[in-house]
Symmetry: C2
Subunit: 143 residues, 2 copies
């Protein structure tokens, strides 16, 4: 039971639960806010583009988009020029969530990092970045 992996797993779980609760207050499920964030930045993105932006697989985006379309957050429309493509367009409901969700996310980050000094926070970010690089490199050299 290595120290870091164990602690990271626990922290991750708690963080995930907190994020879930925060976003659910606005009728969303975890991860849907990320998908919306892509559309807020570029409305009319395709599932493939969204998947690439979020580092998830395309089927995952398709499934989420289906649920979110049913929830009235976005609509699907095929591209006129290239009929293979599907474009996801925000509804007014989906667009209206941007401000509250972004505020909620900022608030969550503030609460989560409240116990950290500024230098602690910087060190944490830099260490996390190194972890991220190592893990990504590990994945690449395996595949």
């Amino acid at each position: 039971m290595p120290e870091f992996l164990d602690l990271h797993s626990k922290a991750s779980k708690a963080l995930r639960a907190a994020a879930e609760a925060a976003v659910r207050r606005h009728g969303l499920h975890l991860g849907q806010d990320h998908l919306l964030a892509v559309l807020w930045r570029q409305d009319g993105s395709t599932p493939g583009e969204v998947a690439a932006a979020l580092n998830v697989t395309t089927p995952n985006v398709v499934k989420a988009a289906t649920r979110m379309a049913a929830a009235g957050l976005l609509t699907r429309r095929r591209d006129d020029r290239d009929n293979r493509l599907v474009r996801l367009w925000l509804t007014d409901t989906g667009r209206a969530l941007q401000a509250p969700i972004e505020e909620e996310r900022r608030h969550l980050e503030d609460q989560i990092t409240a116990d950290l000094s500024e230098t602690e926070r910087e060190h944490l970010l830099s260490a996390l970045a190194k972890i991220h690089r190592s893990a990504t490199a590990l994945l690449n050299e395996m595949s």
Copy 2:
């Protein structure tokens, strides 16, 4: 898109993928190694005990146990004295995985934290612990 949440999310995903690949080399799925770890420490634990030890819900353990029983890693047996209880017992196969899996996990932690100095590592652990506490406190005061 707050800095820490975003970075943590990315690092988490990469770490998860790396752990998945590491454990899959031994025929396991992600999370099953944690369940096994509980049984390595205390064979014959009940699903509820395992769930409490792993901070997951009981149905989750039940489902995982069903798959792992099918995979020949453990067996189910009802408790003789209290017939409500079910106890999970390791098979030889499940027991034999302890050394290789623990080694794999140590190796993964070493690779992941290779770029960190000793003080960086300590600071990371302490910061992660604070994050964990904050997130847990946040969850409690919400529920």
